[in-house]
Assembly symmetry: C2
Homo-oligomer: 351 residues x 2
DNA sequence: TTGTATGCGTTATCAG
DNA sequence: CTGATAACGCATACAA
């Protein structure tokens, strides 16, 4: 057991080679002979040599850290959704020898933070979470030249940045049509915060579908806010208190959907027969059985479904690709959500 | 706008001082005169000087990074609980200029990872999540001399490491007593994975309380597994199918508690009147209304309650203190959970 | 294919 | 109170 960690100098001396050659051998440079490379690799293994990250970082300017700056303050949308996204991303990072640098900061500080992160060369790239419509962070990051990928989109075109998004508009369009086809005409929307682009798109899909079917919008049926369980609960109580309550609810996450189910239960109503509920389902892992061998239950909520964890993986890959080659053309990817019919939708009940 | 980031050399030349003096002034060394310090600080501000983290890290051996190594594989208990814990911890780190280094890795790799993290000096300290009974990570970390704090405990004494824990045993003891006092005698337990110390303690509290009241244990009423919504749902379906179902359920998290509520609802039973439910409530933020000005609802679940986010803050503080002074005596802290009576408990119903 | 010399941007040691 | 100078551990341009 060696007392002190062995560094490049010690390793090269032990091998009777120069630090240069050893470094090159370890970093896979082509000009080193396979024979020496084998020797070097063996010795490095045996002596338990590990390059110092800070020294390497100082020399190369690369930190092998990916920045994830998230706000806790207002948009707790981040909470369980974020955990699943990061789980997917982290898996990809690990395979490539990167780590996550996680920084919690209010949205209004994030521009300054990106600036500092770039100047300090603390991270090799960042993921932008929860983009607003016309999000200022994107312009800043482009100006800084820091590689980044946006989870979601910030504007209509999505041209001057790399992004991966779910087709939120189409998902909500389809779901609305599905409900209309079932015979519903009063359909409520319990949405996320509409300053966030994904929520704005969802509303567009909903409104467009209603308009196409000749159904007038009713502001009293539309809610926007943080996607928590109480949000769904409260919205439902308000909806049930209306003179003419809706017969169906579209909801932006299974979290408020659970609040909806609770409020309905308290009112003696059953999701499905008495009130249709369609949720956007991010496949949050704490809602899934762990044992995937077990027979799948019939899904409870009728849902638009897209795994946020898979999204995390994809975004991470895209970012690592950009870091490897910052000049590569901007990529973008739009995923369609599945539409899964569960137990919470039915034709409107006659009450 | 300066094109290139200004470094210590440039700053010192601009000031007509040596790098040494500038460095000392900036790092608050006592021997530098207040007058020069003021000059230096002003110039640093004006020229937008920021010390390079990797250079500082190379020179000092400190990375200003705190390691959080979490497993995704088996124990997804971590998922939403983890997000809230990290939100609390991150807040504290930010105030002190630390960042989180997040690494996802299966439990069996974590020992090696800690070893590497320490040897590489990649982090200044780590938080141990989800300790098992007799968790090997603790011995490893002590041997490595890497500062760490355990969230939870690994053994009875909790002597040779710093920890912060909730009194899980007492919480479940009290909850069990509460149910017995209401008249319940068949009380089910839907627990977390009992290899994890917190879950083992919870079971102890439950078993002890039953024994004290002369109630025999019934294995068919006890479940252990990942704390997901389906866990609660499935356990409840099994319980309801028993010849003699329980009249009350103790559950380790509000997540499975929601599954319990769903299964009861489907069976036409109401939590409270038909089946008492007591949950451990970590005050997960996605279950709380964001707007804290709003009048608080009457809590839904009767619950043992302790904020995991506050725990995150406390653990972070303890760790930063240890990093500042690794020789300080080992601290530990045991929090009592609140017991809050909600709408899901009542005397056993006559069916 | 391998080696020499230098730079990366700090902090720390030791003089003055 | 201030300043040269030497680490810190690696990568790389330039030589050989």
């Amino acid at each position: 057991m060696t007392r002190k960690a062995v560094n490049l100098k010690m390793l090269s001396e032990a091998l009777g080679l120069s630090q240069t050659t050893v470094s090159r051998a370890l970093n896979g440079f082509p000009e080193v002979s396979e024979k020496t490379r084998a020797r070097v690799v063996e010795a490095a293994e045996r002596l338990n040599y590990r390059p110092s990250p800070s020294a390497a970082s100082l020399a190369t300017g690369k930190s092998r850290l990916i920045g994830h700056v998230v706000s806790l303050s207002a948009h707790i949308m981040i909470n369980p959704h974020f955990a699943d996204f990061i789980a997917g991303a982290g898996e990809v990072y690990s395979e490539s020898g990167y780590d996550i640098l996680l920084r919690l900061a209010p949205l209004e500080e994030q521009e300054r933070i990106y600036h500092n992160l770039a100047q300090d060369q603390r991270v090799d790239g960042v993921v932008v979470h929860g983009p607003l419509t016309n999000d200022r962070r994107i312009g800043i990051l482009n100006a800084l030249g820091l590689p980044f990928v946006v989870h979601g989109r910030s504007d209509e075109e999505g041209r001057d940045y790399a992004w991966m998004d779910v087709n939120n508009r189409r998902a909500f369009h389809r779901a609305t049509e599905f409900l209309v086809d079932l015979g519903h005409r009063r359909i409520a929307l319990v949405n996320g915060i509409e300053a966030m682009n994904f929520a704005a798109r969802r509303r567009q899909g909903y409104e467009t579908a209603l308009a196409e079917r000749g159904i007038a919008l009713d502001e009293t049926l539309m809610f926007s806010g943080d996607m928590t369980e109480p949000q769904g609960y409260r919205a439902t109580r308000e909806l049930l208190a209306l003179g003419e309550p809706p017969t169906a609810i579209l909801v932006a996450s299974v979290l408020p959907a659970m609040g909806i189910a609770r409020a309905l239960g308290e009112a003696g109503l059953r999701p499905g027969p008495d009130m249709s509920v369609v949720a956007f389902d991010d496949c949050l892992s704490f809602l899934e059985p762990i044992d995937t061998d077990a027979p799948r239950d019939i899904p409870y909520f009728t849902a638009m479904r897209s795994s946020i964890r898979e999204a995390g993986k994809r975004v991470a890959r895209m970012l690592l690709d950009r870091i490897d080659d910052p000049q590569r053309p901007l990529e973008s990817e739009l995923w369609e959500a599945d539409f899964v019919v569960g137990q919470t939708t039915a034709p409107p009940s006659r009450r």
